[in-house]
C-alpha cells in the first residue's frame, strides 16, 4: 500500500493536464448521459410529481403540500417507517458484530482451514435476496422447518416464526445478517491486514492480551472501514424489499411492510404516483440525514 502511495505522490507536477479537455469528455460521455437520464431526470420529475396528484396517465394538477400532509397523517406510513427503522437498528449491529468476529478469526494465525472457511462465509452473499428469503422460509417454516423440528425434538413447543410479527422480523434480520456477512467480512479483512504489525508487537511486549489488543489497536485502526460498513449496511437496510417479499411477504398481514414496499404498493398497485413520489422523497431525506450524521460522527472520531 505504502509503495503505491509513494508512486502517486512522486509523480511529476500535473503540468499540461487542464489542456486536455476533449479526451476526458469523450471518455465520460456515456456515463454522463446515463447519469442525466436515469438519475437527474427522475430526481427532478419525482420532486415535481410529489406536489401533484399524478396517477401515471393523463393530466395532473398541482396540489401543493397535500401529499406530504397526507403522508404524515397516514398511520400505514408511520408503521412502515417504524418497522424499517427497527429492522435497520437490529440488522446493522448484528451484521457488524458477526462480520467483525469472523474477519478476526479468519485473520488469526492460530485458526486452521481459513481458506475453505472463507468460501463458506462468502457463499451466502452470492445468493439473491429472493433465494435467501426462500432458504430461510424453508428453514423456519412453522410446521415443516428444520428449526422447529429440532426445537420440538428437544422438548420445546413449535415457535410461531411466521405468524408472530416480531419473530418474523427477527428471522429476516438473521437472514440478512447471514447473507451480508461475506461482503462486510471482506472489507474488515482488508482493513485488519493493513494494521501495522509493529503495533501488536509493542502491545504484546507491554503485556497486552488478545482482547486488549483488539480493543486498543484493531478497533481504532479499522475505524474508517467500520464507518463504511455501517453506512452501506444502513442504506441497504433502509431500502430492503426483495428479502421480505420472499420470506414473509411483509407479513403476517401487513405488519412487516417496509418503506420500499409501501412506495411500491402505493405507486404501482394503487397508481398514486404523486403520493408515492412524496414517500420516496421522505426516504431520500432520511438516507441523506443518515449519511450526513455518520460523516460528522466519523470526522469527530478521527479528529480526536
Amino acid at each position: 500500500m505504502t509503495k503505491r502511495a509513494s508512486d502517486v505522490s512522486a509523480s511529476p507536477p500535473r503540468r499540461r493536464r487542464s489542456s486536455y479537455t476533449i479526451a476526458p469528455l469523450v471518455l465520460i460521455a456515456a456515463n454522463v448521459v446515463l447519469f442525466a437520464l436515469f438519475f437527474v431526470w427522475p430526481a427532478v420529475i419525482g420532486l415535481v410529481y410529489s406536489f401533484t396528484n399524478y396517477t401515471g396517465v393523463g393530466a395532473f394538477q398541482f396540489v401543493g403540500l397535500d401529499n406530504y400532509h397526507n403522508l404524515f397523517g397516514d398511520s400505514t406510513f408511520y408503521d412502515a417507517l417504524g418497522r424499517t427503522l427497527l429492522y435497520t437498528v437490529l440488522f446493522v449491529p448484528l451484521n457488524f458484530a458477526l462480520s467483525l468476529l469472523i474477519a478476526n478469526v479468519l485473520v488469526s494465525k492460530h485458526a486452521k482451514g481459513t481458506s475453505v472457511a472463507r468460501v463458506i462465509f462468502f457463499i451466502p452473499w452470492l445468493l439473491s435476496p429472493i433465494v435467501v428469503g426462500v432458504l430461510w422460509r424453508w428453514l423456519f417454516g412453522e410446521n415443516f422447518g428444520l428449526v422447529n423440528y429440532v426445537v420440538e425434538k428437544l422438548g420445546g413447543h413449535a415457535i410461531p416464526w411466521q405468524s408472530n410479527a416480531d419473530l418474523s422480523l427477527l428471522v429476516v434480520v438473521m437472514a440478512a445478517s447471514w447473507a451480508w456477512t461475506g461482503f462486510s467480512m471482506l472489507l474488515f479483512i482488508a482493513a485488519i491486514k493493513n494494521v501495522p504489525v509493529s503495533y501488536y508487537e509493542a502491545a504484546a511486549l507491554d503485556g497486552a492480551g488478545p482482547w486488549r489488543q483488539f480493543i486498543s489497536i484493531t478497533l481504532p485502526s479499522i475505524a474508517p472501514t467500520s464507518f463504511i460498513v455501517i453506512l452501506l449496511n444502513t442504506i441497504n437496510a433502509m431500502k430492503e424489499y426483495p428479502l421480505f417479499a420472499s420470506l414473509n411477504n411483509g407479513g403476517p398481514g401487513t405488519s412487516n411492510n417496509l418503506l420500499v414496499q409501501y412506495i411500491y404498493q402505493t405507486g404501482f398497485q394503487r397508481g398514486q404516483i404523486g403520493y408515492a413520489s412524496a414517500a420516496s422523497f421522505v426516504l431520500m431525506l432520511i438516507l441523506m440525514a443518515v449519511a450526513i450524521i455518520q460523516l460528522i460522527v466519523n470526522r469527530r472520531v478521527e479528529n480526536r
Binding site: D7, R14, A23, N31, A43, H110, A111, S128, L135, T225
Partner: protein, 300 residues
C-alpha cells in the same frame, strides 16, 4: 541457501496468506491457542454453511419425502425430479436465458463505461471532472429504489417499457465500478502516460492501447460483481417487464413463492438452479473477488 530453504516450509505451514503479518507466538503456546481459534472458526462456518447445505440436500429429496417425519439431513432416495420439474415448468428455462442475456450485456457495458470514466477521473485534472465525481458519489447515497416511481416514468417515456434495454440501461452506471477503476488507474504511474504523449500517441489511443490492457484484473473483478448484481436483481425487472416471456429468474422464483399453495419441490429446485451460475463463476474466479480490494472502490 540452506536457511531460506528450511524457513519456507515453516512459513507456508502456518496458515498462508495472513500469517506473516503478525509475529508467531511462543512455540509452546501454538497448539494451545490453535485449538480454541480453530474450534470457533469451524463452529461459525458450520452455522453459516448449514442453511445452504440443508437447502441443497432438501432439494434432492423427492416431493413426497420433503415433509415426512422424522426429517433426515441426507435424502434417502436422492432424485433430480425437483430440478427437472422446475426446469420444464412455467417457462423457467426461458427465464434463465433471459437473465443470462441481460446479465452479459449489462456486464459488458458496465465494465466498458466504468473503465472509461475511471480512467478520466484518475488521469485528468479538471474542475468539471471533480463535479462529476461528486455526482457519482451521490448515486451511492440515493439508490434507484428510492426513486422507483419517477424512474419508472422516465424509462416508460423513453419507450423502453417491457424491453430488456429498460433493465439494462439504467443499471450500467455504477459508482462502485467507476471507483474501482479510478482507484486502479491512480496507482498507474503518470510517467507512463507522459512517455506515450512524448512519443506522439494520441490521448484516446494511450487509453485504448496501454491502459485498457493494464486494467484486465479490475475488469474481471467488476465483471463478476456486476454479473452478480444483475443476476440477483428483483424489483426493477419486476416493474419493467410485463410480458411473461421476458421475465427473469428472480421474478420466476418469487412467483412460485407468491402462489396460494407453495410447491416446495419446484421452488427448491428452481432456487438451487438459480444459484448454480453464480457459485460456479465465484469458485472459478475466486481470487479475483477475494483478493480484490473492494474497499478501495468505496473508500475515498
Amino acid at each position: 541457501m540452506t536457511t531460506t530453504d528450511t524457513a519456507r516450509p515453516v512459513d507456508a505451514g502456518s496458515g498462508r496468506a495472513v500469517s506473516k503479518k503478525r509475529p508467531r507466538g511462543a512455540a509452546g503456546g501454538g497448539l494451545r491457542r490453535a485449538v480454541p481459534a480453530t474450534t470457533l472458526l469451524w463452529i461459525l462456518a458450520c452455522l453459516y454453511g448449514l442453511p445452504v447445505l440443508w437447502f441443497i440436500l432438501s432439494s434432492l429429496k423427492p416431493a413426497g419425502d420433503l415433509f415426512s417425519y422424522p426429517l433426515t439431513l441426507v435424502p434417502h432416495h436422492p432424485t433430480l425430479s425437483g430440478y427437472l420439474t422446475a426446469w420444464r415448468s412455467a417457462n423457467f428455462s426461458q427465464y434463465f436465458i433471459n437473465t443470462t442475456i441481460v446479465c452479459v450485456i449489462t456486464t459488458i457495458l458496465t465494465v466498458g463505461a466504468s473503465c472509461c470514466t475511471g480512467y478520466a477521473l484518475a488521469k485528468y485534472d479538471n474542475k468539471w471532472l471533480k463535479v462529476f465525481f461528486i455526482c457519482i458519489l451521490a448515486t451511492t447515497m440515493l439508490p434507484s429504489e428510492v426513486m422507483l416511481a419517477p424512474e419508472f416514468l422516465v424509462v416508460r417515456n423513453l419507450g423502453l417499457y417491457n424491453s430488456f434495454s429498460g433493465i439494462i440501461l439504467p443499471a450500467v452506471l455504477t459508482a462502485t465500478g467507476c471507483f474501482m477503476f479510478r482507484q486502479f488507474f491512480l496507482t498507474v504511474p503518470d510517467e507512463l502516460v507522459e512517455a506515450a504523449r512524448i512519443d506522439g500517441a494520441r490521448e484516446l489511443s494511450i487509453f485504448l492501447r496501454i491502459m485498457v490492457p493494464l486494467s484486465r484484473p479490475i475488469m474481471l473483478t467488476l465483471a463478476i460483481l456486476s454479473f452478480q448484481w444483475r443476476w440477483n436483481d428483483y424489483i426493477w425487472p419486476l416493474l419493467m417487464l410485463n410480458d411473461p416471456d421476458k421475465f427473469t429468474v428472480q421474478i420466476g422464483i418469487q412467483s412460485i413463492v407468491g402462489a396460494q399453495n407453495i410447491n416446495w419441490s419446484v421452488l427448491l429446485g428452481a432456487s438451487v438452479i438459480s444459484m448454480i451460475p453464480l457459485i460456479v463463476i465465484f469458485l472459478v474466479f475466486q481470487r479475483y473477488v477475494m483478493g480484490a480490494d473492494i474497499n478501495a472502490g468505496l473508500k475515498d
